[in-house]
Each structure stands twice: as structure tokens, then as C-alpha cells.
């Protein structure tokens, strides 16, 4: 059992989200940095989709009513056990009964993941424990919340310390695929997209990461009929400023999507602070075809 002593700026329970409810308008959701959550789970011997705490900008203080194993990944929050600095992250840490874990504010990145061996056993809604405030599913943790620990283990923890990649000194590189609506934009816009830096704006959250930079000019003026969309999609509203969809994205979007980020880059952008420059590296799409043309040719 885990007791919430202090909540930090914003802490929610997340797993890898819920698949199959798009027709209701409910997005997959789940951890904003999926690799961060999965690593924390692996380090304590959990199933990779076990539920853990997602902590925005530190401040979470939890008490282990019963003893347990914990790992902290993602944003490097200096962490204390009963007031003693831990000295390292990205590894399993034994917490005796009654002990307290404190995450202070990280100097870089945004979100830390705190996995407890067994996983957090909160109520599942539509198949997942992920909190999705934009859908009205669940809520952020509050002071005094008591959260049960489950049994979502897959084996003993076998890694003592995972390596940590250094945060980029300059712009963060976001890899992805052009399209599906890259043909709605001018050649100059597409060139700008991959050559000029874009800056993460303060209005970034779990729904989307807003960017500012060279406005992306469209060639097509008509409205786009709303299309389904995914985490990592880069939509461009009429003002030309791209927005990268995050975990709690809307399931459909009426603005053209110029590119879709790879999963690791969608994870990376969710850790970028306001002011962080990003640069896009986009490959051509693998599939772009129209069916039915072969039948027309056959008739001639």
C-alpha cells in the first residue's frame, strides 16, 4: 500500500493506455513517455504495461506503508529515501515498511516514472488504469490517497542499473514519416519544416505539444474532413504552427497532419520543456497508392 504524502505539481497513474475505444472518441492515452514507463517497470520486474506514477516536474512524496521495490526513470528528479539522497536513478531501490520516497524538481525534462514492484492496483476504466483527464477518466493523485499495490510481476528484477542517455545539448531531433497530408503544404513549407528549428511553447500538455517557428503555408484552402489521428501526429492549424499530438490527443482532427513521429521521438518530445528547440528529420512515406486504376486500364 502506498500513501500519497505530497502530490507534486501534477501526478497521475498511467499504464500503456486503452486500445479499441476510438469510436467513442476515447484515445489510447497512457504514459506520455512510454519507454520511460516501460523501463521503470522492467527495473522492478513488472509487466511492462503495469501502472505507475507519472510525475510532472517532481514534488511527489510517497510513503511505503508495506515494504516494496521502487524504480524512478524519466526526468532526473533528485530522489531521497527518508531524507537521504539516493544518488542514482534508473535502478531498483528497496523501500522498508514505513519509509518515504521524495522526488525533488528535476533540472531537465518534464516527467518522471515511479514504478512499484507489483504495479499500482487502481480501478481499471475501459480496460486501463491510465488517467485521462481530457476524457473525464480518473483524476490526479491527492494528498492522503491510499493506493494498493498489485501483483503484475513477470520475474525477479535482473538489472541493477540501466544506462541513461544524455539530454541533447542543442535541438532535440524528432524522427518521423512525412504525410498523410504533406501534399496540403507548399514545397517551401516542407523545406522549412526540416531545416528550421521549432521551439516548444508553454502551452504544451498531455494533449499536445505546441511549437512555434516558421509558419507552414498550405496549398489547399478547403476544410479537411476530420480524420482519425494518433500520438506523434503533427497537425497544422490555420495559423501554420505545428502541434504534436501527445498521449491524451483527440481521436480525430480536422487540420491536416503533415507528418507522424516515430514512437521514440513521440516519447522524446513529451520530455521537452518550454523553450526547447526541436528539429524534424522526416522520411518519405512507404505507402501512397490509389486502388481501382488497374481496373480502368484493363477496360481499355
Amino acid at each position: 500500500m502506498i500513501e500519497i504524502v505530497a502530490t507534486g505539481a501534477h501526478t497521475t497513474v498511467q499504464d500503456l493506455g486503452r486500445v479499441g475505444y476510438a469510436a467513442w472518441g476515447v484515445a489510447q492515452g497512457g504514459a506520455a513517455d512510454r519507454a520511460g514507463l516501460q523501463l521503470a517497470n522492467r527495473l522492478v520486474g513488472n509487466a511492462q504495461d503495469a501502472a505507475a506514477f507519472e510525475v510532472l516536474l517532481g514534488g511527489l512524496v510517497i510513503r511505503f506503508v508495506t515494504a516494496g521495490l521502487v524504480a524512478v526513470t524519466g526526468a532526473p528528479s533528485p530522489t531521497l529515501v527518508d531524507g537521504t539522497p539516493l544518488g542514482r536513478l534508473d535502478g531498483p531501490q528497496w523501500m522498508p515498511a514505513g519509509s518515504t520516497l521524495t522526488l525533488t524538481t528535476p533540472a531537465e525534462q518534464l516527467r518522471s516514472y515511479v514504478a512499484v514492484r507489483g504495479g499500482l492496483a487502481t480501478e481499471r476504466v475501459l480496460g486501463s488504469r491510465s488517467v485521462d483527464e481530457s476524457s473525464g477518466i480518473g483524476r490526479a493523485v491527492r494528498h492522503g490517497d491510499m493506493i494498493a499495490v498489485g501483483s503484475a510481476t513477470v520475474g525477479p528484477p535482473i538489472v541493477d542499473q540501466a544506462p541513461r542517455r544524455a539530454w541533447p545539448a542543442g535541438p532535440a531531433t524528432l524522427h518521423g514519416t512525412l504525410g498523410p497530408r504533406d501534399d496540403w503544404f507548399t514545397g517551401a513549407a516542407l523545406a522549412d519544416l526540416v531545416t528550421r528549428p521549432y521551439i516548444v511553447q508553454p502551452a504544451a500538455d498531455r494533449v499536445g505539444v505546441r511549437l512555434a517557428g516558421a509558419p507552414l503555408e498550405r496549398t489547399v484552402e478547403q476544410e479537411l474532413l476530420s480524420e482519425p489521428t494518433l500520438r506523434g501526429a503533427v497537425e497544422v492549424p490555420a495559423d501554420g504552427m505545428p502541434i504534436v499530438f501527445a498521449a491524451d490527443h483527440p481521436t480525430t482532427c480536422g487540420y491536416p497532419v503533415v507528418a507522424v513521429l516515430d514512437q521514440p521521438s513521440a516519447d522524446l518530445v513529451s520530455q521537452c520543456r518550454p523553450g526547447q528547440p526541436v528539429e524534424f528529420r522526416l522520411r518519405r512515406p512507404e505507402i501512397r497508392l490509389t486502388t481501382g486504376l488497374d481496373r480502368l486500364v484493363g477496360k481499355r
Partner: protein
Amino acid sequence: MNIRSYGTDALLVELSTAAEAGAVRARLDEQPPVGMIETMPGLRTVLVRFDPRAVDAPRLARDLAAVEIAPQCEDGAPRGGEPTSVRVVYSGPDLDDVAAHAGLSADEVVTAHQRPTYRVALIGMAPGFYFLAGGDSRLQPPRRRSPRQDVPRGAVGLAGAFTGIYPKRGPGGWQLVGHVLDELWHPTRLPAALLTPGAAVKLTTA
């Protein structure tokens, strides 16, 4: 149909009508091709998510191209049954802009907006966000240039050929003409949506 890569793990299938898109999506859900994870509906499109370890994009694209397009209903026709009445207060901040775009007075916009019987075309963009099709062809303003970050719950908006109803407070780019009085979306109960895709809807002045 058009089939385009949507990142590395999904393909976007584009059809000619909403009915075709619905039929293709239903067929894929009944008989999923190898490697398919789920389908997601759009107004004329279907997004097919797949596991790249189970199937490669060209193979899946071939499987999708082979799906028979057999729409069961006329595009735009509501299903049978009495239309559900939804009460609207027409006091939205963009009502005058919509009137100017249509070349009508605000009162004429309200009258024109209430005349048709709408069909629920889609629940998307947000949980419980209703897309209503079948509106007056004069009332088709573009989206706002930059979306609002804070549209109130129950707001009624127009964008292109659709009327939308916002289920909760949140961001939105549609032109707001009013708000509904009835609660159409309950996130914690199933079915959460009072209106289902295909249902007929009449909008009335509160």
C-alpha cells in the same frame, strides 16, 4: 480508395463517402487482416493501426485494397426512428461571424440551423464529441484560424459541413453558435453517449 502511410505503424484509408468508410471499417473489424491492431473511424477515412513485427506495410496495404466496399445505407440518410430532440441556446460568441460568412442575419442563421433533421455522423475529436451531418449548406464556415484553448462544455459549433457538440470544456477550433441544455455525454457509464452514430437529431430553441 486511397491508402497512405500514417507514420510507420498505421495506414490511412480514404473512401469517397461516409457510408463507404463505415462499411470498410465494419468489414475490417469483422475480418481483421494479419497484423491489424485496431481501426479508427473518420468522416471519410479509416485509420488501420498495425504491429510492424507481425506484418509489413505493403502486405497490409494489399489486404486493405482487396476489401470489398459495400455501403449498407445512403450517405447522409438517418436511420429509422423518431429524431431525438436536443435543446440549444443560441448565444455563442461566433454567431455574428457565422451570419456574416453566410450573408444572413443572426436570427436567420438560428432558423436555418434548426430546420433540418441531422444524422450523427461520428463521435470523434474528443470523447463524446458529436459530428452532426445534414445541415443547411449556407452554414458552412471554416474553422477558426487558431483554436480556442477553452471551449465551454455543451457548446454547439460549426465547421465545414458539420455541426459539432462539445461534451466537456477543452480546446476547440469550431465556430461557436450556442450551447445545449441536455447532458449528452456521461464518461463514467456505458453507453456513455446518449446519441449513437446514425441516429436522427432535431435541434430546437431552448
